[in-house]
């Protein structure tokens, strides 16, 4: 079976500054693979490169065995990818319900969309209460819920998640990790970026550590926990 994500020799940069240098990694299907690293290490940039939002300068990205380097974002999404982006990124002038619907933009069946909506409302009752509120007026944490719910609406084969628990209350942080485990249980691959190292490693199968734009460590979650370089990179 093809890897869910396979990246090799990836370079990326904004304007002049190099952000990713020769990054190679693999995400095995059906796993939760996490990407760790301190602020500014380049995690978000890596995700942007996978999605085609920041086209890489060199290297290749494959999703489920298909070369997607240089492909338009909506085509990458069409391969069964969904993303919960960093910083929530609401459509502030759309209602909560409309935001959620956009998560299933490529799904043609209205009945299916309705079914998924119901599921999301089930997970986040707060969103059901507020389905007609403009997303821009929701509280920080409520917006995080919208963002996660929106990612779930896509019913992807691969879910890419960038710091979903930012701004969530402790209860919902736990809930969030439970959701991610539940997703894996359904056979969906998760590529997870998180700052919450301990909780992340507790649920992840494998992980990579990014530092200064390079992969400095990688392996199974257990290996990472005991890896010296990992400690050096992460805890200084």
């Amino acid at each position: 079976m093809d890897a869910a994500i396979e990246i090799s020799g990836l370079h990326a940069a904004y304007d002049k500054a190099d952000v990713l240098i020769d990054v190679s990694l693999t995400v095995a299907p059906g796993t939760i693979t996490c990407l760790l690293g301190s602020n500014g290490a380049g995690k978000t940039t890596l995700i942007r490169a996978i999605l085609g939002l920041t086209p890489p300068r060199a290297g290749s990205v494959k999703v489920f065995g298909a070369e997607v380097t240089g492909e338009a974002t909506h085509r990458v999404i069409a391969r069964g990818v969904a993303c919960i982006p960093e910083g929530r990124r609401m459509f502030p002038k759309l209602t909560v319900a409309e935001n959620l619907r956009l998560g299933a933009y490529q799904e043609p069946s209205e009945a299916e969309i309705k079914r998924r909506l119901a599921e999301v409302y089930d997970t986040f009752p707060r969103l059901a209460e507020r389905r007609n509120q403009l997303a821009g007026t929701m509280s920080g944490g409520e917006q995080a819920m919208v963002s996660i719910g929106r990612g779930l609406m896509g019913k992807p084969r691969l879910l890419i998640v960038d710091e979903p628990s930012l701004g969530l209350s402790p209860l919902y942080v736990k809930e969030n990790f439970r959701i991610i485990e539940g997703i894996r249980a359904r056979g969906i691959t998760v590529f997870l970026v998180e700052q919450n190292v301990h909780q992340t490693l507790a649920i992840a199968d494998a992980g990579y550590v990014l530092s200064g734009g390079r992969v400095v460590a990688g392996g199974t979650a257990a290996e990472l926990k005991s890896n010296a370089e990992f400690h050096a990179a992460y805890f200084g």
């Binding site: 999605l51 999404i77 982006p85 609401m90 459509f91 502030p92 759309l94 956009l102 998560g103 007026t137």
Partner: protein
Amino acid sequence: MDLFGQYVVNGLMLGTVYALVAVGFTLFFGVLDVIKFSHGDVLMVGAFTGFTAASGAAALGFSHPLAQLAATVVFALAGTAALGAAIARWLILPLKSAPRLNILLATLMLGTALRESVRLFYPDGSNPKAFPALLPTSSWQWGQFTLRADSSILVVTGVLVIVGLHLLINRTRLGLAIRAVAQDEETARTMGINYTLIVLVTFALGSSIAAVAGVMNGLYYNEINFGMGLLLGLIGFSAAIIGGLGNLYGAILGGFLFAALQMIGAVAMPFASAYKDVFAFAVVIALMAWKPTGLIPERASDRV
């Protein structure tokens, strides 16, 4: 007040034209958050395209007004849709990361370029053109009051177009995508929306609405000229704003209101009718002081 009805009918007709121009503006900046100042001139191009099509159809021997009307509408819509998409592709998309006002200025200059191009390159383009009367010209007369069939058709069509557009924007997947793209390009892409396509489609759509207004203007006044878009654009813009950008129906409200103001300024005020625009625009300013976000305001979506 035998003529009151006549004024109302005139006002409705004028208001419909304004509303149709306004709705284009609302679409562009209510939905796409862009002021497209070339809108009035695209309208003019639409009118000229329609005029050319009608003349062409006549020259090819299609003498029936309906055939000519069909040619007019089809070519005007298609032509301006293509123009709109081209504007989006080569002007708006390259400028999307530049400061907002730049788009405004660029489209403004584009408007000048369109206007000048028609003047210079359209055969005898600097002179007014007689737009053929393609709608039934029968009329009903009650005393001083004349109701023309063509005017009634135009008013009804105009309102239907706006209502249809409103439904498209608010009830369909395409409409949702258009609104999403306006607010956050990258996230829209991340949702799997083909950003470029949606922008092109929106501009094609907005521009063909301008063509509808242009053709309608031609059919109503039976005269078009290369400068017709200038003031019409300004009035449409004002109408869109006083109506409020949150809602396409604001454009209808704004359009009719502006027409009413002009009518009142022309006939019901103690000063000379030449002051009617002064009057109408002064009221617009006062309205903005009173309702700074228009008569049908947007729901506030920003918070701290």
